[in-house]
C-alpha cells in the first residue's frame, strides 16, 4: 500500500504579489488566480508549504532519522513493548496501514495485539471505548479523519461523557483514536477534511495535532499515557515529507501546552499541524519585506488549549493572526479569537485576523485556491500592520 501514501503535492506556485485585494471585490482576487491557473499547468507541482524540521535534540537520548509515519510506528512500538495491555486496531492496520504507520507491529507483537477491524467506524470506536473501560490501552485507527463521522456519536456521547455521568466510577481514559488529517494536494472532498472544530466543542475529550515527527511521537505517547480519551490527528501530507531526528526511546511532550517557535514583537501567528510550516515562511517573508517581527506559536493541543501562552503573547504584540485549513465559520480560530479579545481587548492594535479555508466543502479541482497559503496570510499581515 506504499502507493496509497504517494502524495502528490501541488499548490498555487505563484510568484505574483498580492496587492490590494479590495473589500468584497472578488474580481482582483480571481484575476491573480487566473494567472496562477495557467502557470500551474506548465509547472511541476509543488506543495503550498516547505517543511521546516525542528532542530535535533539530545534531551531524550539517541535519535534516528524518521519521517512522520515512522515516528508514529516508533511510538506505537514503544507502547506495545512497555504496556502489555496495549492493543492497536482499525481498518487495514495488520499489514501496516494505508499510510504505513503500523508496519511490522503485528509480526513483532502478535495478531491478538494488532488486528484489523471490519469497515465500521462506529463499531471501531464503540469497541475501543469498551476495551478501554475494561482496562486495555486501546489505540484505535480511523483510516481518514473524513470517516470519523459515523463514530461521532460514540466519541461525543459515550467516550467524552463516561467519567462525568458515572461520577468517576468508570472512564475510558485508556482510549486514543488516531486519524490522518488535513489537505494532501489531491484529496478533494472526502480525504482532506480537518474536523478538529467539531470535537473542540465537546468537553471530556482531548484533541491533539502535531507539526512534525519529533512532536508527533512525544504527543502521541502523551495521549496514550493520558487518562482521558484522546483524538490524535496526523497531518497526512507530512507523512513522508516531514523528516527529523527523532529519539528512539519513549518520551512525552506535555499536552495543553502551546509552543512558541520563534519570538517576535509585532504580531502573533497561531496555527497547528501543516499550517505551522506555512506560517513560519510567512514570518520570514514579513521580516524581510515588511520588517515586521512575528511570534509563531504552535497550539499543539486544540482541546483543552493553552490560553495563557497565546494571550500573553498577544498582550505583548497587540496583533493576532490565526490560520487553519478548515472553513472559517465555526473553525477553531473563532474560539481562539473570541477568548483573546476577552482577555486582551485593550492590548489589541488591530482586529484579529483568521486566514482559513472558504466556507465551502473541501473542493476537488479548486484546492490550490481554497487553502490558506502563504500569500493570503502575508496579505492579512500587511493589513493588520497598516490598520
Amino acid at each position: 500500500m506504499a502507493a496509497a501514501a504517494r502524495l502528490f503535492i501541488r499548490g498555487a506556485h505563484s510568484t505574483l504579489a498580492i496587492s490590494g485585494v479590495g473589500t468584497g471585490k472578488q474580481s482582483s482576487l480571481f484575476k491573480l488566480s487566473a494567472g496562477c491557473s495557467s502557470r500551474l499547468k506548465a509547472q511541476r507541482h509543488v506543495a503550498h508549504f516547505t517543511f521546516q524540521p525542528d532542530p535535533p535534540t539530545t534531551e531524550y537520548g539517541a535519535t534516528q532519522k524518521m519521517n512522520l509515519f515512522q515516528s508514529i510506528t516508533s511510538a506505537l512500538d514503544n507502547t506495545l513493548a512497555s504496556d502489555p495491555t496495549a492493543v492497536i486496531f482499525g481498518e487495514d492496520v495488520a499489514f501496516g496501514g494505508v499510510f504505513r504507520c503500523t508496519v511490522g507491529l503485528r509480526d513483532k507483537y502478535g495478531k491478538d495485539r494488532v488486528f484489523n477491524t471490519p469497515l465500521c467506524e462506529q463499531g471501531i470506536v464503540g469497541f475501543g471505548i469498551g476495551a478501554a473501560t475494561a482496562g486495555a490501552t486501546a489505540i484505535a485507527e480511523i483510516q481518514f479523519a473524513d470517516y470519523i463521522f459515523p463514530a461521532f456519536d460514540q466519541i461525543v456521547n459515550e467516550a467524552a461523557k463516561y467519567r462525568y455521568r458515572s461520577g468517576n466510577l468508570f472512564d475510558c481514559g485508556n482510549l486514543t483514536i488516531r486519524a490522518p488529517w488535513g489537505c494532501v494536494g489531491h484529496g478533494s472532498l472526502y480525504h482532506s477534511q480537518s474536523p478538529e472544530a467539531y470535537f473542540a466543542h465537546c468537553p471530556g475529550i482531548k484533541v491533539v495535532i502535531p507539526r512534525g515527527p519529533l512532536q508527533a511521537k512525544g504527543l502521541l505517547l502523551s495521549c496514550i499515557a493520558d487518562n482521558n480519551p484522546c483524538l490524535f490527528f496526523e497531518p497526512k501530507i507530512l507523512y513522508r515529507a516531514a523528516v527529523e531526528q527523532v529519539p528512539v526511546d519513549s518520551y512525552t511532550i506535555p499536552l495543553s501546552q502551546a509552543e512558541v517557535l520563534q519570538e517576535g514583537s509585532d504580531l502573533t501567528l497561531v496555527a497547528w499541524g501543516t499550517q505551522i510550516h506555512v506560517l513560519k515562511e510567512v514570518a520570514n517573508m514579513a521580516q524581510e519585506k515588511l520588517g515586521v517581527s512575528c511570534e509563531v506559536i504552535d497550539l499543539r493541543t486544540i482541546l483543552p488549549w493553552d490560553t495563557e501562552t497565546v494571550c500573553k503573547s498577544v498582550a505583548r504584540t497587540g496583533r493576532l493572526l490565526i490560520s487553519h485549513e478548515a472553513p472559517v465559520t465555526g473553525g477553531f480560530a473563532a474560539e481562539i479569537s473570541s477568548t483573546v479579545q476577552e482577555e486582551c481587548f485593550l492590548n489589541l492594535e488591530a482586529p484579529i485576523a483568521r486566514v482559513c479555508g472558504y466556507d465551502t466543502p473541501f473542493p476537488h479541482i479548486f484546492e490550490p485556491f481554497y487553502i490558506p497559503d502563504k500569500w493570503k496570510c502575508f496579505d492579512a499581515i500587511k493589513r493588520m500592520i497598516n490598520y
Partner: protein, 380 residues
C-alpha cells in the same frame, strides 16, 4: 413471458434471411436463493441485437476504465480513481432489466453505472480530469458523478444505502411503478447503516433492490477476514436474497429481472449478491497485488472475463461474426480517444464556481473567504 415469445417470433422471421442466428436460448443452473420459493429463470433467451448492444456497452466501459488508468499514470487525472474493469457485467446486466425511469445509487466505483444510466463517455472523462464539460461540472471528480435518476457516486462507504431506501420510499409514496437499485460492496456490508436500512425497507415494504457487489476484497481485506458470514445474500435475514454469478451478464440480467418483478409486485425489498471481480486494485494508488496473487487475477481474466464470455457466446452460437465485433471494437476505441482528447483539452471550471451551489439561495449569498476582507459570491 409473452413479450419473450413475441420477440422470438419476430426474430425467427428474419432468421431465414441470413446465416446468422438471431437469438439463442441459454441454460443456467439455478442460483442460490434465501427465503424465496421461486428463483430467476434458468432458461434465458438472448437476441443478437441484445448481445451486440451488451458487447458494445461493456467494451466501452472496459476501454474507458483502461483509458482512465492511462491518464492517471500521466497525471492528467489526479486524486482518487476507483476503476470498474472486470465488473462490467454487473452494471450492464442490471440496466438491461430496469429502465431509465427507475433509480440507482452506488458507492464510489461509479464510472460504469454513470455510463449505463445515461452519462456519455465524454462527460465522464471530463469529470475525471475536473473540467467544465464534466458531468458534475468538474466539481465532483471520480467519486461524485451523477445524472438523471442516478444518485451517484458516494464517497463514504455504506452511507448511500439509507439514501437508496429513501428514494424507494418516494417512489412508493408517489405511486409510480419505479424502484430503486441500491448498490454497495462487500466491505460496506459490515456497516451498521446497512442493517438499519434493511429493517426500514422490510418494515415498510419499500421497492428497493439491495445489491452487494462482492468482488472478494474490501480494499485490501479479503471477505474471509472481514465478515463473520460471507453469505452476503443472507445478511438481510428477513429480506429474501439470491446469489448470482456477477461475471455472466445474462445471469445478472435475469436475476435483476426477477428482483424487479418482486419489487414491482409490492412484495417489498429483495437482496442480491453479485459475485464479481475487479482487475485493478481498490483505487489507482493500490497496485492490487499485495493482498492477492497475480495468478489469481490472471485466472479470473482467462476463465471468467465478462466480455470474453459474451464474445464466446456470440461467436460460437453464430450470433455475430468476428469482423462485426472487431468493427465495434474499432468504433469504441475511437469514441474513447475522442473523449480523452476532449477531457484533456476542455478548460477547467471558472473560479467563480468555487463557491457556487453550497446552499440553495436567491439572491446570491456571500461566502467568507480565507481572510476577513475577502468575500466571495455563491450563486445557486
Amino acid at each position: 413471458e409473452g413479450k419473450m415469445l413475441t420477440n422470438i417470433s419476430n426474430v425467427l422471421r428474419a432468421c431465414a434471411q441470413r446465416n446468422i442466428s438471431h437469438l439463442f436460448v441459454f441454460y443456467f443452473k439455478k442460483c442460490d436463493v434465501f427465503k424465496l420459493d421461486e428463483a430467476p429463470a434458468t432458461q434465458v433467451v438472448m437476441t443478437r441485437d441484445e448481445g451486440l448492444q451488451y458487447y458494445r456497452t461493456m467494451q466501452t466501459m472496459r476501454r474507458m476504465e483502461l483509458k482512465a488508468d492511462q491518464l492517471y499514470k500521466q497525471k492528467i487525472i489526479r486524486g482518487f480513481c476507483h476503476l470498474y474493469d472486470g465488473q462490467e457485467a454487473c452494471a450492464v446486466g442490471i440496466e438491461a432489466s430496469i429502465n431509465l425511469k427507475d433509480h440507482l445509487i452506488t458507492a464510489y466505483r461509479a464510472h460504469g453505472y454513470t455510463l449505463t444510466r445515461g452519462g456519455t463517455v465524454k462527460e465522464i472523462m471530463a469529470e475525471l480530469t475536473g473540467r467544465r464539460g464534466g458531468i458534475a461540472k468538474g466539481k465532483g471528480g471520480s467519486m461524485h458523478m451523477y445524472c438523471k435518476h442516478f444518485y451517484g457516486g458516494n464517497g463514504i462507504v455504506g452511507a448511500q444505502v439509507p439514501l437508496g431506501a429513501g428514494v424507494a420510499l418516494a417512489c412508493k409514496y408517489k405511486g409510480t411503478d419505479e424502484l430503486c437499485v441500491c448498490l454497495y460492496g462487500d466491505g460496506a456490508a459490515n456497516q451498521g447503516q446497512i442493517f438499519e436500512t434493511y429493517n426500514m425497507a422490510a418494515l415498510w415494504k419499500l421497492p428497493v433492490i439491495f445489491i452487494c457487489e462482492n468482488n472478494r476484497y474490501g480494499m485490501g481485506t479479503s471477505v474471509e477476514r472481514a465478515a463473520a458470514s460471507t453469505d452476503y445474500f443472507k445478511r438481510g435475514e428477513f429480506i429474501p436474497g439470491l446469489r448470482v454469478d456477477g461475471m455472466d451478464i445474462l445471469c445478472v440480467r435475469e436475476a435483476t429481472r426477477f428482483a424487479a418483478d418482486h419489487c414491482r409486485s409490492g412484495k417489498g425489498p429483495i437482496l442480491m449478491e453479485l459475485q464479481t471481480y475487479r482487475y485493478h486494485g481498490h483505487s489507482m494508488s493500490d497496485p492490487g497485488v499485495s493482498y492477492r496473487t497475480r495468478e489469481e487475477i490472471q485466472e479470473v481474466r482467462s476463465k471468467s472475463d465478462p466480455i470474453s464470455l459474451l464474445k464466446d457466446r456470440l461467436l460460437s452460437n453464430n450470433m455475430a461474426s468476428v469482423e462485426e465485433l472487431k468493427e465495434i471494437d474499432v468504433e469504441v476505441r475511437k469514441e474513447i480517444e475522442d473523449a480523452a482528447q476532449f477531457a484533456t483539452t476542455d478548460p477547467e471550471p471558472p473560479l467563480e464556481e468555487l463557491c457556487n451551489h453550497i446552499f440553495s439561495n436567491n439572491p446570491p449569498v456571500e461566502v467568507r473567504g480565507t481572510n476577513p476582507w475577502a468575500k466571495l459570491k455563491s450563486l445557486s
